[in-house]
Symmetry: C3
Subunit: 204 residues, 3 copies
């Protein structure tokens, strides 16, 4: 297990925790919470893989299913403690997001798609899991209304594209792309930066 | 760019506008509204392509992503004005629906499926985008309760099938099918025709 | 038509009825109710087939589309009577569930996946249709909060795995697996056994 794997697993854990916590707020049972956690963690990559017409990544090795189980155990055992760790999870979640996006970008690039598709695939990888999570708990998806989340994925994709065109090495490209996503999210949360709300269109 | 392309793009624009307007009524930010608009415009065709096991159409050329961007710009710049254009959009939307259905039918027919599958694929192409839109904004899908929308797609499919069996030329078949969809919708809205509500089953 | 087909169709009918009944409680029109019934009956198998990258099963023969039509007709004609038949439908639904899960397991096993994937595919086949149904009618999916439903699918999968490893004959393996699912559900409903609710995590 190398460093990338470690970050990937930490991101999966953080994504799963976010699903499990929201499910618990809705009185889901353990099994339901597990499913929501799993879908949050693997949903984005699964949609990407269906669109790319390849076998979904999580069906090729059991790590993601196991890590989600550990996340559930963690919440069951340390419930109240988890809430106090919000900041820690924000960091995990954000690093995980950055890595998920870059994994999505590289996989789509390898499949031979042009860069505008690749950037969308990166965004889907990073944010579609959270959208499915919010649909399952019957809430309007958070990322459409709050935080620079999906947009951070697009920024990371554009940075990746620029580095790629400038023929930076693979590792530098990855680092700058992940870094730009993390930086965007931290700045957005710290300075309460958000995308303007679309106004003036009340439905009749 | 020929006439079919023009109608296709106008339909995409109208579908995207419908998604963006509903998103704005829910206080989505610009990015969220863009995503909802895009999903409304391309969702039906994407599900169809996944079921047919081909690469989703919008990943092969950037037009749909760009047109949705123009639709967002249009709503941002001309917000209040857009509401007054409701009738214009109804026409666009309905013509777009007709064309989307016929595109879906022809693509499924080329893939070698029998006609009952083909008609379902036409309906999915025309109406699934609106269903996903309503799920994303956390509303019960409109087409299940109001308007003869999905049923118009089925009628268009049946008309296509009859023309096809009668060996009408391709262009006549397309025109009659699209025409029947447009006519059905206009008549349904004008005379408040709707499918009966299913009654007598209150849940315990 | 053999015995397995008969059970498969009875299960499809019961699943479709469950979707149609819930749709009618939400004032859906006939067409909307039909779509919800169809999605409930074929949704799980469709997601499984998309993940396995094979043509969705219901596109290969019209039985499922026709049976859902019969289910709609049944509810339209016998509306109030259907409610009194709840127990009958519980039996159909549970037998159907067991069979759906085993079909999903065998299809995934044939596709060469390891058993942990196979068990998940069995669970998706049995329970994803109900989840999509609940999303379409804009409710929090029932299976995440009530009944041992998805868990019964997993238990059936584990029983299948054990029988398979013990090299039991195909028919014995199927019977024991389906039987364990039916037994689990009946015991859970009869003795009000449920998975514990995940507590202590109110969201801030």
């Amino acid at each position: 297990m190398n460093f990338i794997n470690l970050i990937d697993y930490a991101g999966t854990f953080a994504f799963a925790i976010s699903g499990i916590r929201l499910a618990s707020a809705k009185q889901f049972d353990w099994f339901g919470a597990y499913v929501v956690g799993l879908v949050t963690a693997i949903g984005g990559g699964t949609i990407r893989d269906l669109l790319l017409n390849v076998t979904p990544f999580w069906m090729l090795q059991p790590s993601y299913v196991i890590i989600t189980g550990l996340a559930l155990l963690f919440v069951i055992l340390l419930g109240k403690f988890v809430i106090r760790l919000s900041n820690t999870f924000f960091i995990f979640d954000t690093i995980g997001l950055g890595l998920f996006v870059v994994v999505g970008i590289e996989k789509s690039l390898d499949a031979g798609f042009p860069f505008w598709v690749v950037i969308i695939m990166g965004m889907i990888t990073g944010s579609a899991g959270g959208v499915i999570r919010d649909i399952l708990i019957n809430e309007v998806p958070l990322i459409f209304r709050k935080d620079i989340y999906a947009l951070a994925c697009v920024i990371g994709g554009v940075v990746f594209y620029i580095c790629y065109k400038l023929e930076f090495s693979s590792i530098i490209t990855q680092l700058l792309s992940v870094g730009s996503i993390i930086l965007t999210r931290i700045l957005a949360v710290k300075y309460h930066i958000s995308v303007p709300v679309l106004k003036g269109n009340s439905e009749d």
